[in-house]
Protein backbone atom coordinates (compact mmCIF):
# COMPACT_ATOMS: atom_id res chain seq x y z
CA UNK A 1 0.00 0.00 0.00
CA UNK A 2 1.40 3.35 -1.06
CA UNK A 3 -0.74 5.50 1.22
CA UNK A 4 1.69 7.22 3.55
CA UNK A 5 -0.75 8.44 6.23
CA UNK A 6 -2.55 5.08 6.46
CA UNK A 7 0.81 3.32 6.42
CA UNK A 8 2.13 5.37 9.31
CA UNK A 9 -1.08 4.78 11.23
CA UNK A 10 -0.88 1.04 10.58
CA UNK A 11 2.63 0.87 11.89
CA UNK A 12 1.59 2.84 15.00
CA UNK A 13 -1.01 0.10 15.51
CA UNK A 14 1.16 -2.92 14.80
CA UNK A 15 4.06 -1.83 17.00
CA UNK A 16 1.70 -1.42 19.96
CA UNK A 17 2.35 -4.40 22.22
CA UNK A 18 -0.98 -5.93 23.23
CA UNK A 19 -1.41 -9.16 25.16
CA UNK A 20 -2.46 -11.02 22.01
CA UNK A 21 -4.81 -13.08 24.14
CA UNK A 22 -7.16 -14.15 21.32
CA UNK A 23 -4.43 -15.49 18.98
CA UNK A 24 -2.87 -17.33 21.92
CA UNK A 25 -6.24 -18.88 22.80
CA UNK A 26 -6.72 -19.94 19.18
CA UNK A 27 -3.26 -21.54 19.02
CA UNK A 28 -3.75 -23.28 22.38
CA UNK A 29 -7.20 -24.58 21.43
CA UNK A 30 -5.83 -25.94 18.15
CA UNK A 31 -3.09 -27.83 20.02
CA UNK A 32 -5.56 -29.02 22.66
CA UNK A 33 -7.43 -31.09 20.05
CA UNK A 34 -4.51 -33.51 20.06
CA UNK A 35 -4.15 -33.33 16.30
CA UNK A 36 -0.81 -32.19 14.92
CA UNK A 37 -1.12 -28.43 14.48
CA UNK A 38 2.01 -26.42 13.86
CA UNK A 39 2.17 -22.83 15.00
CA UNK A 40 2.50 -21.88 11.30
CA UNK A 41 -0.75 -23.65 10.40
CA UNK A 42 -2.73 -21.60 12.92
CA UNK A 43 -0.85 -18.35 12.27
CA UNK A 44 -3.20 -16.76 9.71
CA UNK A 45 -6.45 -17.28 11.64
CA UNK A 46 -4.66 -16.25 14.87
CA UNK A 47 -3.50 -13.03 13.24
CA UNK A 48 -6.97 -12.49 11.75
CA UNK A 49 -8.73 -12.61 15.11
CA UNK A 50 -6.19 -10.18 16.57
CA UNK A 51 -6.86 -7.79 13.65
CA UNK A 52 -10.59 -7.88 14.41
CA UNK A 53 -9.87 -7.16 18.07
CA UNK A 54 -7.47 -4.33 17.17
CA UNK A 55 -9.94 -2.72 14.74
CA UNK A 56 -12.67 -2.87 17.40
CA UNK A 57 -10.44 -1.09 19.93
CA UNK A 58 -9.59 1.63 17.39
CA UNK A 59 -13.27 2.26 16.63
CA UNK A 60 -14.37 1.94 20.29
CA UNK A 61 -11.85 4.61 21.27
CA UNK A 62 -13.30 7.17 18.81
CA UNK A 63 -14.83 10.36 20.26
CA UNK A 64 -18.32 9.31 19.09
CA UNK A 65 -17.93 5.98 20.93
CA UNK A 66 -16.05 5.60 24.26
CA UNK A 67 -13.85 8.66 23.58
CA UNK A 68 -10.59 7.28 24.98
CA UNK A 69 -7.29 9.14 24.56
CA UNK A 70 -5.02 6.38 25.87
CA UNK A 71 -4.73 2.69 24.99
CA UNK A 72 -2.00 0.29 26.06
CA UNK A 73 -0.13 3.26 27.56
CA UNK A 74 -0.01 5.20 24.29
CA UNK A 75 -2.19 7.81 22.55
CA UNK A 76 -5.10 6.22 20.72
CA UNK A 77 -5.00 6.27 16.93
CA UNK A 78 -7.41 9.16 16.43
CA UNK A 79 -5.32 11.23 18.89
CA UNK A 80 -1.97 10.32 17.29
CA UNK A 81 -3.42 10.85 13.76
CA UNK A 82 -7.02 11.93 13.18
CA UNK A 83 -10.52 10.48 13.26
CA UNK A 84 -10.75 9.81 9.53
CA UNK A 85 -7.53 7.79 9.67
CA UNK A 86 -8.76 5.84 12.70
CA UNK A 87 -12.05 4.99 10.98
CA UNK A 88 -10.27 3.90 7.79
CA UNK A 89 -7.57 1.87 9.56
CA UNK A 90 -10.27 0.02 11.50
CA UNK A 91 -12.23 -0.66 8.32
CA UNK A 92 -9.13 -1.87 6.51
CA UNK A 93 -8.06 -4.15 9.36
CA UNK A 94 -11.44 -5.86 9.33
CA UNK A 95 -11.15 -6.57 5.59
CA UNK A 96 -7.55 -7.73 6.08
CA UNK A 97 -8.65 -10.28 8.69
CA UNK A 98 -10.91 -12.09 6.24
CA UNK A 99 -8.37 -11.79 3.43
CA UNK A 100 -5.70 -13.43 5.62
CA UNK A 101 -7.87 -16.46 6.34
CA UNK A 102 -9.08 -16.81 2.76
CA UNK A 103 -5.49 -16.73 1.46
CA UNK A 104 -4.07 -19.37 3.84
CA UNK A 105 -3.45 -22.28 1.47
CA UNK A 106 -2.20 -24.60 4.21
CA UNK A 107 -5.81 -24.88 5.37
CA UNK A 108 -8.47 -26.65 3.29
CA UNK A 109 -11.11 -24.53 1.54
CA UNK A 110 -13.71 -25.96 3.95
CA UNK A 111 -11.62 -25.02 7.01
CA UNK A 112 -11.12 -21.49 5.67
CA UNK A 113 -14.84 -21.09 5.00
CA UNK A 114 -15.72 -22.35 8.48
CA UNK A 115 -13.18 -19.91 9.96
CA UNK A 116 -14.55 -16.96 7.97
CA UNK A 117 -18.13 -17.83 8.93
CA UNK A 118 -17.24 -18.16 12.62
CA UNK A 119 -15.19 -14.97 12.79
CA UNK A 120 -17.66 -12.89 10.75
CA UNK A 121 -20.57 -13.93 12.93
CA UNK A 122 -18.65 -13.26 16.16
CA UNK A 123 -17.53 -9.85 14.88
CA UNK A 124 -20.90 -8.67 13.55
CA UNK A 125 -24.40 -7.72 14.65
CA UNK A 126 -24.93 -11.04 16.45
CA UNK A 127 -21.63 -10.64 18.28
CA UNK A 128 -19.17 -7.84 18.99
CA UNK A 129 -20.87 -5.02 17.06
CA UNK A 130 -24.29 -5.91 18.46
CA UNK A 131 -22.87 -5.94 21.99
CA UNK A 132 -21.15 -2.59 21.51
CA UNK A 133 -24.47 -1.15 20.31
CA UNK A 134 -26.27 -2.47 23.39
CA UNK A 135 -23.47 -1.18 25.61
CA UNK A 136 -23.82 2.36 24.25
CA UNK A 137 -27.59 2.25 24.64
CA UNK A 138 -27.24 1.04 28.23
CA UNK A 139 -25.08 3.98 29.33
CA UNK A 140 -26.69 5.92 32.19
CA UNK A 141 -29.16 3.07 32.82
CA UNK A 142 -28.89 0.61 35.70
CA UNK A 143 -28.92 -2.92 34.34
CA UNK A 144 -29.62 -6.25 35.96
CA UNK A 145 -26.71 -8.69 36.20
CA UNK A 146 -28.42 -10.77 33.48
CA UNK A 147 -28.64 -7.78 31.11
CA UNK A 148 -24.99 -6.94 31.75
CA UNK A 149 -23.98 -10.56 31.08
CA UNK A 150 -25.89 -10.50 27.81
CA UNK A 151 -24.13 -7.31 26.65
CA UNK A 152 -20.72 -8.71 27.54
CA UNK A 153 -21.44 -12.12 26.05
CA UNK A 154 -21.82 -10.30 22.73
CA UNK A 155 -19.36 -7.43 23.09
CA UNK A 156 -16.31 -9.36 24.31
CA UNK A 157 -17.45 -12.94 24.86
CA UNK A 158 -18.30 -13.71 21.24
CA UNK A 159 -14.75 -13.08 20.01
CA UNK A 160 -13.16 -15.05 22.88
CA UNK A 161 -15.45 -18.00 22.16
CA UNK A 162 -14.63 -17.60 18.46
CA UNK A 163 -10.90 -17.87 19.27
CA UNK A 164 -11.51 -21.28 20.87
CA UNK A 165 -13.89 -22.53 18.18
CA UNK A 166 -11.53 -21.36 15.42
CA UNK A 167 -8.70 -23.21 17.14
CA UNK A 168 -10.93 -26.27 17.00
CA UNK A 169 -11.47 -25.77 13.25
CA UNK A 170 -7.73 -25.49 12.63
CA UNK A 171 -7.10 -28.58 14.77
CA UNK A 172 -9.94 -30.49 13.09
CA UNK A 173 -11.65 -31.05 16.42
CA UNK A 174 -14.35 -33.70 16.54
CA UNK A 175 -17.96 -32.57 17.29
CA UNK A 176 -17.56 -33.29 21.03
CA UNK A 177 -14.38 -31.25 21.25
CA UNK A 178 -15.97 -28.38 19.32
CA UNK A 179 -18.91 -28.34 21.69
CA UNK A 180 -16.59 -28.27 24.70
CA UNK A 181 -14.34 -25.55 23.26
CA UNK A 182 -17.39 -23.36 22.71
CA UNK A 183 -18.56 -23.90 26.29
CA UNK A 184 -15.07 -23.16 27.67
CA UNK A 185 -15.06 -19.93 25.65
CA UNK A 186 -18.46 -18.83 26.93
CA UNK A 187 -17.45 -19.38 30.56
CA UNK A 188 -13.97 -17.91 30.43
CA UNK A 189 -15.15 -14.94 28.36
CA UNK A 190 -17.58 -13.96 31.07
CA UNK A 191 -15.01 -14.54 33.82
CA UNK A 192 -12.54 -12.38 31.90
CA UNK A 193 -15.01 -9.49 31.69
CA UNK A 194 -15.91 -9.69 35.39
CA UNK A 195 -12.22 -9.60 36.30
CA UNK A 196 -11.88 -6.56 34.00
CA UNK A 197 -14.39 -4.71 36.14
CA UNK A 198 -12.59 -5.80 39.32
CA UNK A 199 -9.27 -4.55 37.95
CA UNK A 200 -10.88 -1.33 36.75
CA UNK A 201 -11.88 -0.54 40.34
CA UNK A 202 -8.58 -1.62 41.90
CA UNK A 203 -5.99 -0.23 39.49
CA UNK A 204 -4.81 3.22 38.66
CA UNK A 205 -4.13 4.46 35.13
CA UNK A 206 -0.38 3.76 35.29
CA UNK A 207 -0.51 0.00 35.69
CA UNK A 208 -3.56 -0.35 33.46
CA UNK A 209 -2.26 1.66 30.49
CA UNK A 210 -5.73 3.05 29.90
CA UNK A 211 -7.99 5.44 31.76
CA UNK A 212 -8.97 3.79 35.07
CA UNK A 213 -12.43 3.78 36.67
CA UNK A 214 -13.69 4.98 33.30
CA UNK A 215 -16.70 2.69 33.00
CA UNK A 216 -18.14 3.69 36.36
CA UNK A 217 -17.43 7.36 35.63
CA UNK A 218 -19.16 7.04 32.25
CA UNK A 219 -22.34 5.84 33.94
CA UNK A 220 -21.92 2.24 32.78
CA UNK A 221 -23.10 -0.65 34.89
CA UNK A 222 -20.33 -2.97 36.14
CA UNK A 223 -20.36 -6.35 37.85
CA UNK A 224 -18.62 -4.82 40.85
CA UNK A 225 -21.29 -2.13 41.18
CA UNK A 226 -24.12 -4.66 40.80
CA UNK A 227 -22.68 -7.60 42.79
CA UNK A 228 -20.05 -6.09 45.07
CA UNK A 229 -16.30 -6.66 44.73
CA UNK A 230 -16.05 -9.98 46.60
CA UNK A 231 -19.07 -11.61 44.99
CA UNK A 232 -17.83 -10.53 41.54
CA UNK A 233 -14.41 -12.09 42.15
CA UNK A 234 -15.99 -15.27 43.47
CA UNK A 235 -18.26 -15.52 40.40
CA UNK A 236 -15.28 -15.11 38.06
CA UNK A 237 -13.32 -17.79 39.92
CA UNK A 238 -16.27 -20.21 39.78
CA UNK A 239 -16.62 -19.69 36.02
CA UNK A 240 -12.91 -20.28 35.57
CA UNK A 241 -13.09 -23.52 37.56
CA UNK A 242 -16.06 -24.70 35.48
CA UNK A 243 -14.13 -23.97 32.27
CA UNK A 244 -11.13 -25.98 33.47
CA UNK A 245 -13.37 -28.84 34.57
CA UNK A 246 -14.74 -29.11 31.03
CA UNK A 247 -11.30 -30.09 29.73
CA UNK A 248 -10.29 -32.10 32.80
CA UNK A 249 -10.15 -35.33 30.78
CA UNK A 250 -8.04 -33.82 27.99
CA UNK A 251 -4.36 -34.77 27.90
CA UNK A 252 -1.19 -32.78 28.32
CA UNK A 253 -1.72 -31.28 24.85
CA UNK A 254 -4.32 -29.05 26.56
CA UNK A 255 -1.80 -27.72 29.12
CA UNK A 256 -1.10 -24.49 27.26
CA UNK A 257 -4.85 -23.86 27.08
CA UNK A 258 -5.15 -24.52 30.83
CA UNK A 259 -2.35 -22.05 31.55
CA UNK A 260 -4.01 -19.38 29.42
CA UNK A 261 -7.39 -19.84 31.11
CA UNK A 262 -5.69 -19.38 34.49
CA UNK A 263 -3.87 -16.28 33.30
CA UNK A 264 -7.17 -14.74 32.11
CA UNK A 265 -8.57 -14.59 35.65
CA UNK A 266 -5.35 -14.29 37.67
CA UNK A 267 -4.00 -11.02 36.33
CA UNK A 268 -3.66 -7.41 37.40
CA UNK A 269 -4.07 -5.61 34.06
Amino acid sequence: MQNTQLNRALSHTSTNPGKRLRPQLLQAAARATGNPVSEALAAAPAEAIELIHTYSLIHDDLPAMDDDDMRRGRPTLHVAFDEATAILVGDGLQAKAFELIASEEQLSAQQRIDLVACLAKAAGFEGMVGGQGLDIEATERTLSVEQLKNIHALKTGALITAALVMGGIVGQANPDQKHILKAVGDKIGLAFQIIDDVIDVRSDSTTLGKTAGKDAAAGKSTYVALMGLEAAEAAALALYQESVALIHDWGTEADSLRKLLARMVKRDS
Copy 2:
Protein backbone atom coordinates in the same frame (compact mmCIF):
# COMPACT_ATOMS: atom_id res chain seq x y z
CA MET B 1 -30.40 -9.16 16.71
CA GLN B 2 -32.24 -7.66 19.66
CA ASN B 3 -30.54 -4.25 19.59
CA THR B 4 -33.29 -1.77 18.97
CA GLN B 5 -31.23 1.28 17.97
CA LEU B 6 -28.97 -0.72 15.61
CA ASN B 7 -32.07 -2.49 14.23
CA ARG B 8 -33.80 0.77 13.46
CA ALA B 9 -30.64 2.11 11.84
CA LEU B 10 -30.29 -1.04 9.75
CA SER B 11 -33.81 -0.77 8.48
CA HIS B 12 -33.22 2.91 7.61
CA THR B 13 -30.29 1.66 5.53
CA SER B 14 -31.97 -1.31 3.86
CA THR B 15 -35.11 0.57 2.83
CA ASN B 16 -33.01 3.22 1.10
CA PRO B 17 -33.35 2.52 -2.62
CA GLY B 18 -29.90 2.59 -4.22
CA LYS B 19 -29.14 1.65 -7.81
CA ARG B 20 -27.67 -1.69 -6.73
CA LEU B 21 -25.17 -1.39 -9.56
CA ARG B 22 -22.54 -3.74 -8.09
CA PRO B 23 -24.93 -6.67 -7.45
CA GLN B 24 -26.37 -6.22 -10.94
CA LEU B 25 -22.88 -6.26 -12.44
CA LEU B 26 -22.05 -9.41 -10.50
CA GLN B 27 -25.23 -11.16 -11.68
CA ALA B 28 -24.70 -10.05 -15.29
CA ALA B 29 -21.05 -11.15 -15.28
CA ALA B 30 -22.04 -14.56 -13.89
CA ARG B 31 -24.58 -15.03 -16.70
CA ALA B 32 -22.12 -13.73 -19.31
CA THR B 33 -19.83 -16.73 -18.71
CA GLY B 34 -22.38 -18.87 -20.53
CA ASN B 35 -22.53 -21.36 -17.67
CA PRO B 36 -25.92 -21.95 -16.07
CA VAL B 37 -26.13 -19.51 -13.18
CA SER B 38 -29.48 -18.92 -11.52
CA GLU B 39 -30.20 -15.60 -9.90
CA ALA B 40 -30.46 -17.48 -6.61
CA LEU B 41 -26.94 -18.92 -6.96
CA ALA B 42 -25.42 -15.44 -7.30
CA ALA B 43 -27.70 -13.82 -4.71
CA ALA B 44 -25.45 -14.07 -1.62
CA PRO B 45 -22.27 -12.68 -3.21
CA ALA B 46 -24.37 -10.00 -4.96
CA GLU B 47 -25.87 -8.97 -1.64
CA ALA B 48 -22.43 -9.10 0.01
CA ILE B 49 -20.86 -6.64 -2.42
CA GLU B 50 -23.80 -4.26 -1.98
CA LEU B 51 -23.32 -4.45 1.82
CA ILE B 52 -19.65 -3.47 1.41
CA HIS B 53 -20.67 -0.55 -0.82
CA THR B 54 -23.38 0.52 1.65
CA TYR B 55 -21.04 0.37 4.66
CA SER B 56 -18.47 2.46 2.77
CA LEU B 57 -21.07 5.15 2.01
CA ILE B 58 -22.13 5.26 5.67
CA HIS B 59 -18.55 5.70 6.87
CA ASP B 60 -17.61 8.12 4.03
CA ASP B 61 -20.54 10.36 4.99
CA LEU B 62 -19.33 10.72 8.62
CA PRO B 63 -18.34 14.22 9.83
CA ALA B 64 -14.69 13.15 10.16
CA MET B 65 -14.71 11.97 6.52
CA ASP B 66 -16.70 13.69 3.72
CA ASP B 67 -19.27 15.12 6.18
CA ASP B 68 -22.37 14.62 4.03
CA ASP B 69 -25.87 15.21 5.41
CA MET B 70 -27.79 13.79 2.46
CA ARG B 71 -27.49 10.49 0.58
CA ARG B 72 -29.91 9.12 -2.00
CA GLY B 73 -32.27 11.99 -1.19
CA ARG B 74 -32.48 11.15 2.52
CA PRO B 75 -30.60 12.16 5.68
CA THR B 76 -27.39 10.17 6.12
CA LEU B 77 -27.30 7.61 8.91
CA HIS B 78 -25.30 9.69 11.38
CA VAL B 79 -27.79 12.55 10.88
CA ALA B 80 -30.88 10.34 11.24
CA PHE B 81 -29.33 8.53 14.25
CA ASP B 82 -25.89 9.42 15.61
CA GLU B 83 -22.23 8.92 14.77
CA ALA B 84 -21.70 5.93 17.04
CA THR B 85 -24.61 4.12 15.39
CA ALA B 86 -23.30 4.96 11.91
CA ILE B 87 -19.83 3.64 12.77
CA LEU B 88 -21.26 0.42 14.26
CA VAL B 89 -23.74 -0.21 11.43
CA GLY B 90 -20.92 0.18 8.91
CA ASP B 91 -18.71 -2.20 10.88
CA GLY B 92 -21.51 -4.75 11.19
CA LEU B 93 -22.41 -4.59 7.50
CA GLN B 94 -18.82 -5.37 6.55
CA ALA B 95 -18.80 -8.47 8.77
CA LYS B 96 -22.22 -9.48 7.42
CA ALA B 97 -20.92 -9.36 3.84
CA PHE B 98 -18.29 -12.01 4.53
CA GLU B 99 -20.70 -14.08 6.64
CA LEU B 100 -23.21 -14.13 3.77
CA ILE B 101 -20.69 -15.51 1.30
CA ALA B 102 -19.24 -18.04 3.74
CA SER B 103 -22.74 -19.38 4.54
CA GLU B 104 -23.90 -19.86 0.92
CA GLU B 105 -23.97 -23.62 0.65
CA GLN B 106 -25.04 -23.62 -3.02
CA LEU B 107 -21.48 -22.51 -3.84
CA SER B 108 -18.49 -24.83 -3.39
CA ALA B 109 -16.08 -24.12 -0.53
CA GLN B 110 -13.45 -23.14 -3.11
CA GLN B 111 -15.82 -20.67 -4.81
CA ARG B 112 -16.74 -19.13 -1.46
CA ILE B 113 -13.07 -18.75 -0.49
CA ASP B 114 -12.23 -17.17 -3.84
CA LEU B 115 -15.16 -14.77 -3.41
CA VAL B 116 -14.11 -13.81 0.15
CA ALA B 117 -10.50 -13.27 -0.94
CA CYS B 118 -11.53 -11.14 -3.92
CA LEU B 119 -14.02 -9.02 -1.98
CA ALA B 120 -11.76 -8.55 1.07
CA LYS B 121 -8.85 -7.41 -1.07
CA ALA B 122 -11.03 -5.00 -3.07
CA ALA B 123 -12.55 -3.58 0.13
CA GLY B 124 -9.30 -3.16 2.07
CA PHE B 125 -6.03 -1.25 2.12
CA GLU B 126 -5.14 -2.33 -1.42
CA GLY B 127 -8.56 -1.25 -2.65
CA MET B 128 -11.43 0.88 -1.42
CA VAL B 129 -10.04 1.83 2.01
CA GLY B 130 -6.61 2.64 0.58
CA GLY B 131 -8.21 4.81 -2.10
CA GLN B 132 -10.34 6.65 0.42
CA GLY B 133 -7.20 7.35 2.47
CA LEU B 134 -5.41 8.75 -0.58
CA ASP B 135 -8.48 10.79 -1.48
CA ILE B 136 -8.55 12.46 1.94
CA GLU B 137 -4.82 13.18 1.80
CA ALA B 138 -5.21 14.70 -1.68
CA THR B 139 -7.82 17.25 -0.62
CA GLU B 140 -6.67 20.82 -1.30
CA ARG B 141 -3.85 19.56 -3.55
CA THR B 142 -3.94 19.72 -7.34
CA LEU B 143 -3.33 16.26 -8.76
CA SER B 144 -2.27 15.06 -12.18
CA VAL B 145 -4.82 13.06 -14.17
CA GLU B 146 -2.69 9.96 -13.49
CA GLN B 147 -2.76 10.54 -9.72
CA LEU B 148 -6.51 11.06 -9.82
CA LYS B 149 -6.96 7.85 -11.85
CA ASN B 150 -4.92 5.94 -9.30
CA ILE B 151 -7.03 7.18 -6.39
CA HIS B 152 -10.25 6.31 -8.17
CA ALA B 153 -8.98 2.95 -9.37
CA LEU B 154 -8.67 2.05 -5.67
CA LYS B 155 -11.53 4.00 -4.13
CA THR B 156 -14.34 3.03 -6.51
CA GLY B 157 -12.74 0.99 -9.28
CA ALA B 158 -11.60 -1.92 -7.11
CA LEU B 159 -15.13 -2.79 -5.99
CA ILE B 160 -16.58 -2.48 -9.51
CA THR B 161 -13.87 -4.77 -10.87
CA ALA B 162 -14.53 -7.12 -7.94
CA ALA B 163 -18.21 -7.29 -8.93
CA LEU B 164 -17.23 -8.56 -12.39
CA VAL B 165 -14.55 -10.94 -11.13
CA MET B 166 -16.90 -12.31 -8.46
CA GLY B 167 -19.52 -12.88 -11.14
CA GLY B 168 -16.88 -14.87 -12.98
CA ILE B 169 -16.20 -16.98 -9.89
CA VAL B 170 -19.92 -17.73 -9.45
CA GLY B 171 -20.22 -18.58 -13.17
CA GLN B 172 -17.05 -20.69 -13.06
CA ALA B 173 -15.46 -18.58 -15.80
CA ASN B 174 -12.42 -20.03 -17.54
CA PRO B 175 -9.08 -18.19 -17.12
CA ASP B 176 -9.57 -16.22 -20.35
CA GLN B 177 -13.01 -15.05 -19.31
CA LYS B 178 -11.73 -14.09 -15.85
CA HIS B 179 -8.97 -12.02 -17.40
CA ILE B 180 -11.44 -10.24 -19.67
CA LEU B 181 -13.96 -9.60 -16.89
CA LYS B 182 -11.23 -7.96 -14.83
CA ALA B 183 -10.20 -5.75 -17.75
CA VAL B 184 -13.82 -4.78 -18.43
CA GLY B 185 -14.16 -3.83 -14.75
CA ASP B 186 -11.03 -1.68 -14.77
CA LYS B 187 -12.15 0.25 -17.84
CA ILE B 188 -15.80 0.73 -16.93
CA GLY B 189 -14.94 1.61 -13.34
CA LEU B 190 -12.80 4.51 -14.51
CA ALA B 191 -15.42 5.61 -17.07
CA PHE B 192 -18.06 5.50 -14.32
CA GLN B 193 -16.00 7.77 -12.07
CA ILE B 194 -15.30 10.29 -14.85
CA ILE B 195 -19.02 10.45 -15.66
CA ASP B 196 -19.65 11.01 -11.93
CA ASP B 197 -17.54 14.16 -12.10
CA VAL B 198 -19.34 15.29 -15.25
CA ILE B 199 -22.73 14.78 -13.61
CA ASP B 200 -21.52 16.52 -10.45
CA VAL B 201 -20.86 19.66 -12.48
CA ARG B 202 -24.04 19.49 -14.55
CA SER B 203 -26.67 18.47 -12.01
CA ASP B 204 -28.30 20.21 -9.13
CA SER B 205 -28.95 18.62 -5.75
CA THR B 206 -32.56 17.69 -6.53
CA THR B 207 -31.91 15.25 -9.36
CA LEU B 208 -28.72 13.92 -7.77
CA GLY B 209 -30.15 13.18 -4.31
CA LYS B 210 -26.88 14.26 -2.75
CA THR B 211 -25.08 17.56 -2.37
CA ALA B 212 -24.04 18.75 -5.87
CA GLY B 213 -20.71 20.34 -6.83
CA LYS B 214 -19.44 19.09 -3.49
CA ASP B 215 -16.12 17.65 -4.66
CA ALA B 216 -15.03 20.86 -6.37
CA ALA B 217 -16.22 22.91 -3.38
CA ALA B 218 -14.28 20.63 -1.00
CA GLY B 219 -11.05 21.37 -2.88
CA LYS B 220 -10.90 17.91 -4.50
CA SER B 221 -9.44 17.44 -7.94
CA THR B 222 -11.92 16.26 -10.59
CA TYR B 223 -11.52 14.99 -14.14
CA VAL B 224 -13.61 17.89 -15.37
CA ALA B 225 -11.36 20.43 -13.65
CA LEU B 226 -8.20 18.73 -14.92
CA MET B 227 -9.32 17.78 -18.45
CA GLY B 228 -12.25 20.05 -19.25
CA LEU B 229 -15.86 18.88 -19.61
CA GLU B 230 -15.76 17.73 -23.24
CA ALA B 231 -12.45 15.88 -23.00
CA ALA B 232 -13.63 14.14 -19.81
CA GLU B 233 -16.83 12.96 -21.51
CA ALA B 234 -14.89 11.78 -24.56
CA ALA B 235 -12.45 9.84 -22.35
CA ALA B 236 -15.32 8.12 -20.54
CA LEU B 237 -16.99 7.19 -23.82
CA ALA B 238 -13.73 5.77 -25.21
CA LEU B 239 -13.24 3.62 -22.08
CA TYR B 240 -16.82 2.37 -22.37
CA GLN B 241 -16.28 1.42 -26.01
CA GLU B 242 -13.07 -0.42 -25.14
CA SER B 243 -14.90 -2.35 -22.40
CA VAL B 244 -17.65 -3.41 -24.81
CA ALA B 245 -15.10 -4.40 -27.45
CA LEU B 246 -13.51 -6.81 -24.96
CA ILE B 247 -16.71 -8.89 -24.87
CA HIS B 248 -17.60 -8.37 -28.54
CA ASP B 249 -17.17 -12.08 -29.28
CA TRP B 250 -19.29 -13.20 -26.34
CA GLY B 251 -22.79 -14.46 -27.12
CA THR B 252 -26.25 -13.21 -26.25
CA GLU B 253 -25.71 -14.41 -22.66
CA ALA B 254 -23.57 -11.27 -22.25
CA ASP B 255 -26.38 -8.93 -23.35
CA SER B 256 -27.43 -7.98 -19.83
CA LEU B 257 -23.79 -7.11 -19.05
CA ARG B 258 -23.61 -4.99 -22.22
CA LYS B 259 -26.77 -3.12 -21.21
CA LEU B 260 -25.38 -2.42 -17.75
CA LEU B 261 -22.08 -1.13 -19.11
CA ALA B 262 -24.00 1.26 -21.37
CA ARG B 263 -26.16 2.43 -18.49
CA MET B 264 -23.05 3.21 -16.39
CA VAL B 265 -21.89 5.91 -18.80
CA LYS B 266 -25.22 7.07 -20.24
CA ARG B 267 -26.94 8.31 -17.12
CA ASP B 268 -27.84 11.58 -15.48
CA SER B 269 -27.50 10.69 -11.79
